[in-house]
Amino acid sequence: MDDASRAKICRRTVMPVKEVVELLKRGKALAKRTKYKEAIIHFEKALSLDPNYPESWLLRATAFIETGRYKEALADCERALALDQNYADAWSKKGLVLYNLERFDEGILASTRATTLNGNDAAAWYIKGVCLDELGRNDEAQEAYGKSLELEIILDMDAERKKVGR
């Protein structure tokens, strides 16, 4: 079992109440339709019911990112990580936020942590690459880009296969 799967299981041991799950589900559906304001309201309701469920913080952070509210997104990522230090997706989102805040050194640290916990996170590898690129660390950037590209291609090929099989 890899680190990411282990972390996921640990996180799942703290089960949210049914109502929270339902709110998050509805919030995610709204976010998918780019209705971020409404999505945030749902995530906030979920947080008021159970502030100890890391996924609620991360989902609100994601909605904040989409609306350009990076400082609030960063705070939410940190809340999620305070609840679960091995939450790979929260590290990945934190890396993205730090990149957007032009805090590239910290972005590298966060995305490196994300890729350590989940080596298959193409987005985290890419963010690591762009942060390194911004700091002029070209060779390291190319390495991270290379890894991100490999993963993206595998995902793309899988998606193509599914499309053909449909």
């Binding site: 990112i65 989409e66 350009g68 993205l96 990149y99 957007n100 193409a122 987005a123 590898w125 890419y126 963010i127 690459g129 762009v130 690129d133 911004e134 190319q142 880009y145 290379g146 991100s148 590209l149 490999e150 993206e152 291609i153 595998i154 995902l155 793309d156 090929m157 998606a159 193509e160």
Partner: protein, 337 residues
């Protein structure tokens, strides 16, 4: 350009310089069902205020960057044409549709005469405009695809590996195009269509050298291509297919493509004039390909609005052309299928 989407440094610079050169604005939009190669919705084609590049939502890293680079180059070529002169595309009119469909019909009759199992008349009639429109789409896309890919290759060395994957993927899709209609489409058009893509692929195979293949080779699914050059990969694909005869035509088309494209100084300063030169080369290349395929009177160079209008009237054009070709023999039931 303001975007929440993370972008690699060279792409961000390229986007900014594209906006500066054209004095325009570009937005990026992610969509789950976007075309794999992205879509450019530009102010030179449509009545809109801002250019939009639509990206597949699942592309999060360099795959997305390549799509942006490609569409920015497309935009630069279109914009340079519009600013320096007029941006024109291959459109069609009622008369040109008639000429094209008539030619396809005559060629189809020659094919049908040799066939044991004849194509049902209704299918043959339906095929005429579909094939005509197909060549219109391809001729508006293919020459520019070669130019844009060559330009991106020379200007964006950091995304070459990504480009290679896109080229291989695109090539596979284009090769499969029309396959299901192989027995229906007149041989000449089937071969010409394949030959066009063959020429494009061979031109790109010569442009993109083999050493750029890494690290794509680390991907298990692509390991079988190990030790193969890009050129070899694309050639192998083409020579092992049922349409090997496309090679003869394809080699001629490759020569048509190479003549102007080999003269381009791809690393020259990227100014408005430079991109206008690329546009002129593309127009010339398109003309030469149309000439080679003897489709000279099928299409007319017109502004994009004309083509959009022609698309709106295509059913009308098709009906009128069928009436002209078949006279009273054609009935509404036939036309409507």
């Amino acid at each position: 350009m303001k975007t929440e989407i993370p972008l690699s440094k060279p792409i961000r610079r390229f986007l900014t310089s594209t906006e500066e050169i054209l004095d325009t604005e570009i937005s990026l939009l992610r969509q789950a069902d976007a075309e794999p190669g992205g879509t450019l919705v530009d102010i030179y084609t449509y009545d809109i205020e801002k250019n939009v590049i639509i990206l597949p939502a699942q592309y999060i890293g360099l795959l997305k960057d390549f799509v942006i680079a490609k569409q920015c180059t497309n935009l630069l070529i279109k914009g340079a044409a519009a600013k320096k002169s007029r941006y024109l595309v291959c459109s069609y009119t009622e008369d040109s549709v008639y000429r094209g469909m008539r030619q396809i019909y005559l060629d189809a009759l020659k094919d049908e005469a040799k066939k044991e199992t004849k194509l049902p008349v209704q299918k043959l009639i339906q095929m005429l405009f579909i094939l005509f429109a197909h060549f219109n789409d391809d001729i508006n896309e293919l020459p520019w695809n070669a130019i844009v890919n060559a330009s991106v290759y020379h200007r964006m060395p950091k995304i070459r590996k990504t480009q290679l994957y896109h080229v291989m993927k695109e090539s596979k899709t284009d090769m499969d195009e029309m396959m299901e209609q192989e027995t229906i489409v007149p041989r000449r058009y089937f071969v010409l269509n394949k030959a066009m893509f063959y020429a494009r692929d061979m031109f790109l195979a010569k442009t993109l050298p083999a050493d750029e293949l890494m690290p794509v080779l680390n991907i298990p699914q692509m390991k079988k291509f190990n030790h193969l050059e890009v050129k070899e990969m694309l050639t192998t694909r083409w020579t092992q297919t049922a349409w090997y005869q496309s090679k003869v035509f394809g080699d001629n088309m490759l020569a048509i493509m190479e003549r102007p494209l080999n003269l381009v100084k791809w690393d020259a300063e990227p100014t408005l004039d430079y991109y206008f030169d690329l546009y002129k080369i593309g127009v010339n290349l398109t003309d030469n390909l149309i000439s080679y395929m003897t489709m000279r009177d099928w299409f007319v160079w017109e502004e994009p609005k004309h083509l959009l209008e022609a698309h709106k009237n295509k059913e009308e054009f098709e009906k009128k052309a069928l009436k002209k070709i078949f006279g009273d023999l054609i009935t509404d039931a036939w036309e409507d299928g």
